[in-house]
Symmetry: C2
């Protein structure tokens, strides 16, 4: 211990990777290992070594080929230090974080009309009033979100608000809701995108599940390239869509107000004039609830604020306000056009209402295709918002130990790779399970996001109430209106869509919360078991191990295992399992004729031979180890001689007893396993004279 005082930082340098000479006696019992300055590492601060690009190179040709392929697919690795330069500007941020919300304008009004049309096409006069109601709720949500961003600029969005202001359980309800919703965002957006293309390319419509899954895989790849590169890829189409929409709305409005409106286009299978349901309050509420899908994605900016450049909070507020304004204009304009042209939705989902409206005004010329293509692209990019949100929220949950730790690791490109892949798999499965139909998926969709909105706004109400921060009066008013509006919408959505699929979300959510809680409980108990209570006093419990060496045959690989066992402990026993009396006697005779069992100091390695009449190897060995272990507290150590052939496929030519024994020992408490490999390729190498005898 007194050495601690004499040790300085210079001393530490000397004891690390640099070249040193052997200094016997300087530290009793410790022989220095001589190492040259390694080319794969450069010196860092405080005695650390920084791995250079060289350290990442695979030693094998196959490994290097894999690296090249990976770099082409995902790009070259990005250093942790470059994290800040990977952040998004406001225009790019709008492209990445707002696409989900903006893209909903392409289908949300159609979902309203689809419900209304159930009461006959006459009920479609309610499209415009319901559209305005949706925009009002959107406005309230947007303003609430600016509050969330200002209060929790560190990300986590609604989850962070609910957890800190209301407690862990509400926080997890929000988290679970959002996770479900992100999966549905990806599934719905891709399905809607495929639908939009399917409107003018029939084969795509016929194989919509296949194209949907393929698209999800493509977006996953883009996101594995990192958030900034994904932003650069995906921001463009958002702006093309916005311009195309504004142009269409202006052109349409001009026609309507100048009275030169062309005759409305008719979809392939228009809804019939007489409906199957009565136009009651429930149907109107259901139509409103369907349209509220338009509000999903409004939380994306608050969740993704940490991906924006500093000052994050200010940029987040600008982004969310921009998103709300642009979106409001497009949604209102489209609703207006649809209502004025009395366009009918297609009963068979073969043509979107957007396509019908566009055809009405501009025919099927280049502009029509511009609108359709940019809509499809945008709907697909809306899926990308899910890819921004899910992995980030999962990483926050993993940091809080509610999800597996792997979700918080950043990959080579600083992306949360595990979350990205998990989301793609989940969304692909959901998409396939629902046959790629937007209408089937929509009822599940909005519950989660409104649950998150409601709880987050309630959390803010509580915050202002408790803290009395500056302007708490008007803040509480805004949050309370937000909580009430989104809460009411949540109830409407849950009730009206319960039987159409919302029940699945209501069943899944508590299960997911329980899962998150039990993961947390596991991590907590593990941390409790592993934590060092007092690092200043924790000492190593050093004990000489009892070393058992199971030996199948007395060959060079067994000798290596025995030599290692003798080097590390004076308590070595060899054990052989024989399948017959004859082979037991034969092994004993061979062992006795082998002079190597006598060590230089006159000791002999004791040998136990076990005869196993039923030819089982593993169980008798385990029982033998049990008996040895029973009376001795010292750790049992088993040395396994493993033969490693030149090629992995040659492994099947060797009975993998060592592998099976190791697996059996893995779950045996207090048992240390030592693998002493004998590499077929390294025969020349291992014959080098080795150092001193222990």
């Amino acid at each position: 211990m007194d050495r601690a005082d004499r040790r300085g930082s210079g001393e530490r340098e000397a004891s690390s990777l640099e070249e040193r000479t052997t200094r016997p006696g300087a530290l009793p019992g410790n022989r220095y290992v001589r190492i040259v300055r390694p080319k794969e590492f450069r010196r860092g601060l405080g005695g650390t070594y920084v791995a250079t690009d060289e350290a990442l190179r695979s030693p094998s040709a196959a490994g290097r080929a894999y690296d090249v392929l990976r770099h082409i697919l995902f790009g070259r690795p990005i250093s942790t230090e470059l994290e800040l330069s990977e952040r998004l500007s406001v225009p790019t941020g709008l492209g990445v974080l707002a696409t989900d919300n903006i893209s909903s304008s392409a289908y949300s009004i159609e979902e309203v009309m689809r419900v209304l049309a159930l009461a006959g096409t006459g009920a479609l006069f309610l499209t415009m009033p319901i559209g305005i109601a949706i925009i009002v709720v959107l406005g309230i949500v947007i303003i609430s979100q600016t509050q969330v961003i200002r209060t929790y600029p560190g990300g986590g969005g609604s989850y962070a608000v609910a957890k800190h202001e209301l407690g862990t359980l509400p926080g997890l309800v929000v988290a679970g809701s959002l996770l479900i919703d992100y999966v549905l965002t990806v599934a719905v957006s891709t399905a809607a995108g495929v639908d939009a293309i399917g409107s003018f390319v029939q084969p795509v419509y016929q194989h919509r599940v296949f194209f949907g899954v393929a698209l999800i895989a493509l977006i996953m790849l883009g996101n594995l390239r990192g958030v900034r590169e994904a932003g650069l890829i995906f921001a463009g189409p958002t702006y093309v869509y916005l311009l195309a929409m504004l142009g269409l709305i202006l052109f349409g409005a001009f026609h309507i107000f100048s009275g030169t409106m062309p005759p409305t286009a008719v979809p392939p299978a228009p809804f019939p004039a007489t409906g199957t349901e009565a136009l009651g309050v429930f149907l109107i509420l259901r139509a409103f609830a369907s349209g509220c899908a338009a509000l999903t994605g409004a939380e994306a900016v608050a969740n993704g604020t940490p991906t924006l450049r500093p000052p994050e909070a200010r940029n987040g507020v600008i982004t969310v306000l921009l998103m709300g304004s642009v979106y409001g204009v497009v949604l209102l304009g489209l609703t207006f056009l649809a209502a004025q042209t009395h366009a009918l939705p297609d009963a068979k989902e073969q043509e979107t209402i957007m396509s019908v409206v566009t055809r009405t005004f501009v025919g099927t010329g280049p502009y029509y295709y511009l609108v359709q293509v940019s809509t499809s692209l945008l709907l697909i990019l809306a899926a990308n918002t899910g890819f921004t949100g899910f992995p980030r929220l999962a990483s926050v949950l993993a940091d809080d130990r509610f999800m597996p730790r792997q979700f918080s690791f950043r990959g080579e490109r600083l992306a949360f790779s595990v979350g990205i892949v998990a989301l793609a798999v989940a969304a692909g499965l959901v998409l396939a399970a629902f046959g790629g139909s937007v209408t089937n998926l929509i009822p599940l969709y909005t519950i989660g996001v409104f649950m998150a909105f409601t709880l987050a706004q309630s959390g803010l109400v509580r915050r202002w109430w408790v803290r009395h921060e500056r302007g708490w009066h008007w803040r509480i008013a805004i949050s309370a209106i937000g909580a009430f509006a989104t809460g009411a919408t949540l109830l409407i959505v849950a009730f009206t869509k319960f039987e159409y699929g919302a029940w699945m979300v209501i069943v899944t959510l508590p299960l997911l919360v329980v899962l998150l809680l039990s993961i947390h409980a596991h991590y907590r108990s593990v941390a409790d078991a592993l934590v060092i209570e007092d690092p200043d006093r924790a000492q190593l419990q050093v004990a000489t191990p009892i070393v058992l060496v199971p030996i199948a045959r007395l060959d060079l690989s067994s000798l290596r295992a025995l030599a290692f066992a003798v080097a590390v402990s004076p308590l070595v026993r060899a054990v052989h399992v024989a399948t017959s009396k004859e082979s037991a006697a034969a092994f004993r005779a061979r062992w006795d004729s082998w002079s190597g069992r006598h060590l230089k100091d006159g000791r002999e390695i004791p040998l136990d031979v076990i005869e196993s009449p039923y030819r089982a190897l593993i169980q008798p060995l385990l029982k033998y180890i049990d008996r040895i272990d029973e009376r001795d507290p010292r750790p049992i150590t088993v040395v396994l001689a493993e033969f490693i052939p030149r090629h992995w496929w040659e492994l099947i030519l060797h009975s993998q007893t060592a592998f099976r024994l190791r697996w059996a020992l893995l779950f045996r408490p207090n048992t240390i396993v030592i693998d002493v490999p004998y590499h077929f390729a390294s025969v020349g190498h291992q014959e080098e004279p080795l150092g001193r005898e222990a």
Copy 2:
């Protein structure tokens, strides 16, 4: 070394599993481990311990449930010592080894007629002459086989003869031919058995591949129960079939000779009277070749002689002669009945000729069903002959190092389990590939067995010629006639059936032989690399290992790993990979504040910190190990702290860096890996005070 003289067998006893007291100083540096007399082992001869049934018991409830299930399916384990009592008597041996041959009588004559009918039903008059030719060849083969059994009673049959008399390559050609043929035996027999049932149960005919594969699985299970039990299950139907056949033949012959023959039954889709091919020499030879399928299985007794009770050779000869006589009578009788009744084969393979003949004489009463059911059973049991032959031949090849070693291990029931399962899988695949059709499979079938016959007989000719043993003149005559007859048949079969599928065997055989040879080459080079040249002089090369301990976090599991490292070597280095400057500094600070890094003797465990800017863990560690290894010949040892949770599925909650690192180190030469597990469940246990410090 001088201790060797003082050591007697009593001393050896004392140093083995029995209870002992600690005798410090008795053997310098070696501390005895105290062990009680273990209840799972009893004392054997020469200081060995014999594992009792207790030693096989699984410690866990799930393991015991699995044991119970296994014992129900396969029976209780059979001790190696009971091998002799598992042998077969001649009657059982006939049931097990002769079924393949005898069962061919059910379909071989039909295959002849099927080929003849291609030239019109008028050509069927040749059925009887071809049948007699086949029986002549059979007689020659049977007599040759008695010679093989007498000369090589140790099993291996034709393979052993060819290998010893002609050399390794002819031996492997025989082995390869027989392996292919056994697979085809199982496929053909099952297909024919399913056909026979399909003659009167339509759904079975429609799903013949499914029923065929299910049957193979069932026979596999029976064989995994061990050869004697399989014999007891399978011998009965052979005798029922023989009696039923003899009865039918006698009854039919009585009708024919008394002139009271009933009108011949007509199959559902009889061959047309005018054929599609001309009746030439080639067609006749092809018909003969098809019928020679009847000779397959004639080699089974010679291969399986070691499964018979002693005296094996005599019992083998009796069995093969019995088989030949019974078979000759049945084959001749059936051919006679078919020829006399002018029965027509069914063009669509829906009814067998056996069914047509039986219907002619006894109608569709109980006797008809007795014949059909016993035929079907026998055809299925013929597959069992494949299951007796393939695993046994594979084990002989494995002993000779031409097949993976696992083929020579006997399972709990003394059966060669790996060979049995491999055969079932191969036969199932072949059956499925050929759609379960006997006619499609037959052309592939006979090549292998005639290749084996020809080479084995040639080998015997050479043997008698070289050795001039007693009676070599007449022996050489028999073997030469056998070699000529089977060789001629081989050529006829190969030529006439080449385009119908025989080419597949002719292509596969050399590939299989090359595979066997390269497996042998691998084992030989491994054995060369591993063998201890001079066991009397082989010494252990004991060297103090350099021990590296990668540490992710300083917790109790890392402390255990470090404690073990310190216990086994004075050359310990800890290494930490950090993903950022900050975490590198934080780890260094925590390490410096931990007093446990100072050992009792004042030494300190050196720590290297590697900063990995791209967050990669494995590659920088591997490069670090390379650099340490580069300048020091002592074996590099890596100690991995592994956290083992209570349940295996909890493993996904822990990033498996240790597992990945271990896999990466597996193929690194000269690197020993030590797993120090930290069992979540064993927290209480591990806190016990451990022994002395190293």
